[in-house]
């Protein structure tokens, strides 16, 4: 996969949210949700993004989709920087980039039928003159999409509440597919689903990737799900990427102490394995991203921390080919 061209290039992406200033003070506070993230996704590849709640996974994805205006940084899709694009061009560029959301209940309009929901992206682009297609063609396409994601075409006129969670997620996927995007941003698409449905949807994602040559940026907090779906994995902590590597490599040889803890904390569904496992139990909680710290953000919870970690922030450095980590344990002087 390495010789394919780069589809998405994210450089120094920062997303800071201003918090409300108090009545008497002028200086505003910020939530540093994403604080300088760099990565690339190649065509046809799946990059998994893991991390705990509040680490900035969803914000990263939303900033890439330009649903938020990033504070700083570049989001380059197919060689064009989305952050500096005029609105009209951005709409056209979005055709290449669609999202699938976590909550299949909140992300579908309850007053639209499944058919209308799936047709909506096409309708919008038609109205703006970016897509030409007759309404018969559109209906045809909707039916085709429904069958493709495993829904009967006879459900076209049903409303979202008539579907189960897994079926709704299929509607969401069909809607994202409608414009034939190259990049799909999947924000925890299987987290709300039951185990037996989750595996159906994961397999659907894999099949669609093969069939349409899709590229995924896939968020999940379940490490096993990420391992199954991803070619490469980026681990986030407090708005920063602490480790990024090929999926196999990361799971076999995690370098960053946080990645190690995360992997050892994830339960494995096998009592024989669980009985023998040594867990790294982290103390404390994830700190609040309300200020920028001079040292490593993981310092307080790290059991391997050194003096340098308190005062300096490690940069993301390549230790082996394709394996980058931000930790002073592996730091090489430039």
């Amino acid at each position: 996969m390495s010789d394919h061209e780069v589809l998405l290039d994210v450089r120094g992406l920062k997303m800071h949210f201003a918090t409300k200033s108090s009545l008497f003070s002028k200086n505003k506070g910020y939530i540093y949700a994403v604080d300088g993230v760099d990565f690339q996704i190649k065509k046809g590849e799946t990059l998994g993004l893991v991390g705990e709640s509040g680490c900035g996974k969803s914000t990263t994805v939303r900033a890439i989709a330009q649903l938020y205006k990033p504070t700083a940084g570049e989001v380059i899709l197919n060689g064009k920087d989305l952050t500096k694009m005029p609105a009209q061009d951005l709409l056209a560029a979005r055709k290449n980039m669609q999202m699938v959301f976590q909550d299949p209940y909140a992300s579908l309009n309850p007053r639209m039928t499944a058919g209308e929901i799936i047709a909506e992206p096409m309708r919008i682009f038609q109205n703006r003159g970016l897509l030409s297609m007759s309404s018969a063609e559109r209906d045809d396409k909707v039916e085709h999409l429904m069958e493709r994601v495993g829904l009967s075409r006879f459900f076209k006129n049903r409303y979202p509440h008539e579907f189960s969670g897994g079926q709704r997620q299929r509607i969401g996927i069909a809607r994202a597919l409608a414009l034939r995007p190259e990049l799909m941003l999947c924000d925890e698409p299987v987290s709300a689903l039951d185990v037996s449905i989750q595996s159906q949807i994961l397999n659907l994602f894999k099949d669609l990737q093969q069939e349409f040559g899709l590229t995924y940026l896939f968020i999940a907090h379940d490490l096993a799900v990420i391992q199954y779906i991803s070619d490469r994995v980026a681990v986030m902590y407090l708005g920063l990427i602490v480790e990024i590597s090929g999926s196999k490599d990361l799971y076999k040889k995690p370098l960053h102490p946080y990645t190690q803890a995360l992997l050892s904390a994830a339960p494995i569904p096998d009592p024989a394995v669980e009985a023998k496992r040594q867990r790294i139990i982290l103390t404390g909680d994830v700190p609040s991203p309300d200020r920028q710290r001079p040292g490593c953000y993981f310092y307080d919870r790290c059991w391997k921390h050194m003096d340098v970690c308190k005062t300096h922030r490690p940069r993301l450095q390549e230790t082996e080919a394709g394996h980058k980590v931000a930790c002073f344990l592996y730091h090489k002087p430039d």
Partner: protein
Amino acid sequence: MTDEVILQVKDLKTYFTVDEGVVKAVDGVSFDLRKGETLGIVGESGSGKSVTNLSVINMIPSPPGRIAGGQVLFHDKDLLKIPLSEIHHIRGNKISMIFQDPMTSLNPFLRISTQMIETIVLHQGLDKKAAKEKAIEMLKLAGIPAPEKRIDQYPHQFSGGMRQRVMIAMSLSCNPEILIADEPTSALDVTIQAQILEIMKELTKRLGTAVILITHSLGVVAGTCDTLCVMYAGRIVERGPTDVIFSEPKHPYTIGLIRSVPRLDKENTERLYSIQGQPPNVIDLPDCCPFYPRCEKAMDICRKKYPAATKFKDGRSASCWLYSEEKK
């Protein structure tokens, strides 16, 4: 774990009457809980895990719910038949609960101290000062740093993991015999989940508390439970020691469930197995095996009659016609 059975659930049936018909949320569930045992109940949403446990402590809202049959024997007393005044002495005292969302199960207007002291004073007859000391001790056991200070704070001042620790401290403060934990870690991150499970394991072991752990995560069950009940559409389809069920599952649903979870410790190169179809709608379910439309091994008889549980030598039972003696 000893052989002394402290809780026996026999053929429990809990039905809800809704406009569309009767929802048989729990339909003939039986299990035993021994002293100090950790029993896991797994199943997908809507399989009746939570309703089973709400029924055990007689907390089913009625109407629309009603307990249509069965017994819940706690020290030979049927909890479904005893008067309300008596069950108040059992709930929160002998049997306590932890819920999934620690924010909604703590009162946001009251300090932690007020909420904890209330329970201890009510059930243990201590005065307020002694109760507060006991509360601080429990918070300390649950791993809350500086409990003397934290006890006077409000729930919103705690993080999700910390709140769940408060809930554990509170629920164990009266030395209950049974702790019912309903998805205690589902709302938490993995690293926090590991902390909470560790604390629960350690504390209940120390206090000799039996635990009923409800979860949808097979991973959590594998690491914590001695015995396991797998639920599907309001019934327990397989029950037995956790290691036996995982190493050699019998019921096709259990087999499918275990195979469809991606595993961290294996390279997931091949395609993930998935059970086809959707879980059934439990409204007016016919008296057949509810899993047969999704089952790879379905036979004619499966769509006619629900199979009785077949007992195996290894202490396990499964409800499937594949193993039933009376078949055909």
